[in-house]
């Protein structure tokens, strides 16, 4: 009997530990937002975070989007040809990029690039006592380190998603026009006509949520890092894993919220 129950007990313990961790992350995120709303503010830190998270992520977002848009156009054309529906390439590329692939891929790229960098930087600051030094210098680490990064991600990732959507559609357009003999004007006309405001709003909203998840995960794991190089490595790995999983889970929930009716 014990032999049967012990795997269940272990599963129960893991679920409880997971829920407790989620609770701690939610409380951490709420504290971060409370610091965003209350002065003092650190404009230089916010500016630096906007540059790091937004501007410097543009190349990786652009490259990811253009190749994904191009591949999507080829796939839809090849798949559509099986039932004489090649003409739907512009519409499906547009809807696929804007509703799903744009936000998810940008979110995952941000998790890879930004979450890891935030977690490693803050974890290193923790193990070298820089965070303790901040406290002794009357500076709240949540306000100085976490709030600017979360705010910057909240503001810039929706913009990155919007830019990624446009570049992805242009990638599909280029492939369709150059390789698949689509008419350029008709392709663009079909794309514009097919997209609804709700598609764009959902894309940007997903971007905001994914940005917050990416920044909060990086900050949380960095601030709770263990000691030494191993602690920094573990914090970085865990932050990216957690951010990627939460982004995909949030995407499922948000897609249901926006498009279930």
């Amino acid at each position: 009997m014990t032999l049967l129950l012990s795997p269940l007990a272990a599963l129960g313990r893991s679920v409880l530990a997971g829920l407790a961790m989620l609770g701690r992350i939610v409380i951490f995120a709420l504290r971060a937002f409370s610091h965003i709303l209350r002065p003092p503010y650190y404009p230089r830190e916010i500016g630096h975070a906007l540059l790091q998270i937004g501007w410097l992520s543009l190349p990786v977002v652009g490259l990811t989007a253009v190749f994904t848009g191009g591949a999507l156009a080829l796939q839809i054309y090849a798949g559509g040809a099986r039932f004489n529906a090649e003409a739907v390439v512009p519409q499906i590329v547009a809807i696929g990029m804007v509703r799903e692939l744009g936000p998810v891929l940008v979110g995952l790229m941000i998790a890879a690039r930004v979450t890891s960098s935030i977690a490693a930087e803050i974890a290193t600051m923790k193990v070298t006592e820089q965070i303790d030094a901040l406290v002794t210098l009357s500076t709240h680490p949540m306000k100085y380190l976490v709030a600017p990064r979360v705010l910057a991600a909240l503001l810039t990732v929706p913009l990155l998603v919007g830019i990624g959507d446009v570049i992805g559609i242009l990638g599909g357009y280029t492939v369709a026009v150059q390789n698949l003999d689509f008419n350029a004007a008709t392709y663009l006309q079909n794309t514009v006509n097919f997209l609804e405001l709700r598609d764009i709003a959902s894309s940007l909203a997903k971007g905001a949520v994914f940005g917050v998840i990416a920044a909060v995960m990086g900050c949380y794991y960095g601030m709770h890092s263990g000691r030494g190089a191993m602690g920094v490595g573990r914090a970085t790995k865990s932050s990216v894993q957690a951010a990627a999983i939460l982004i995909l889970a949030a995407n499922f929930v948000l897609t249901g919220v926006f498009f279930s009716v």
Binding site: Q130, D132, L137
Partner: protein, 248 residues
């Protein structure tokens, strides 16, 4: 005056502080000695509120340090961390002037820079070092920048955590002299953690030895060599034989 009364702190199964009682009179330099892992840094961090003690009372001038305005409390302190704990992303002068560039002690940029350069000069660094980043400096220079940061806002109380660890004997001597000069010159209350006996003799007015989570011996530095305490004697002489286990 800083007072610790029956301070306890446990991490998991490890009882680090088991009832620490210590008084540091105003304007004096107290050095806490003890082996590695005996809780010296934990005691110091408890005073600063970086770690919360499980029980006991810590007061500064009779006021419980856990109560009252935290910013005003921390504004009275300067701290030199073991590894310097300089902010990599900021140039040296901004590290030194960190407290003067934000918060209640904020000064205009030019004035903050001027004060930073003056403090750097005070610890033997030239203005040319001010615009470098911490990674461009040697370990000894980083320590001195940390010292300049600790004294930048002219604090009443300065804590030094292992100020000479990792430095060569000459640089250790320079840092010890600087600490002594600064403490005397500023009339500050100082609390230093070290296991370097040269530093103890150079810096201390009073010495406290922490062992097994309690203050084993405390008294003026002049009485240290004739204390009659077997723990202190073993530590001071660096002998492997004695009540302190050599392998911990």
């Amino acid at each position: 005056m800083i007072e610790l009364r029956d301070v306890h702190k446990t991490f998991g199964a490890n009882r680090v502080l088991r009832g620490v009682d210590l008084t540091i009179p105003k304007g004096t330099s107290m050095v806490i000695i003890g082996g590695s892992g005996t809780g010296k840094s934990v005691a110091l961090k408890c005073v600063l509120g970086l770690i919360s003690p499980d029980s006991g009372l810590i007061t500064l001038d009779g006021q419980d340090v856990t109560k009252g305005d935290r910013d005003a409390f921390l504004a009275r302190f300067g701290m030199l961390f073991q590894g310097g704990a300089l902010f990599d992303s900021l140039p040296v002068w901004q590290n030194v002037a960190f407290r003067l560039l934000r918060g209640s002690l904020k000064r205009p940029l030019a004035e903050a820079r001027e004060i930073a350069i003056e403090k750097l000069r005070r610890v033997g660094l030239t203005p040319e070092q001010a615009d470098k980043f911490p990674a461009e400096l040697s370990g000894g220079m980083q320590k001195r920048v940390g010292l300049a940061r600790a004294i930048a806002a002219d604090p009443e109380i300065i804590f030094f955590d292992e100020p000479t660890t990792g430095l060569d004997p000459i640089m250790s001597g320079v840092i010890n002299e600087l600490i002594r000069e600064i403490v005397v010159e500023m009339g500050a209350t100082a609390m230093t953690i070290t296991h370097d006996m040269t530093s103890v003799r150079a810096i201390a007015d009073n010495v406290a030895m922490l062992h097994d989570g309690v203050i084993q011996w405390t008294g003026p530095v002049a009485e240290m060599d004739a204390s009659g305490d077997p723990y202190l004697e073993q530590f001071v002489t660096g002998s492997a034989e004695g009540p302190i286990e050599a392998v911990r």
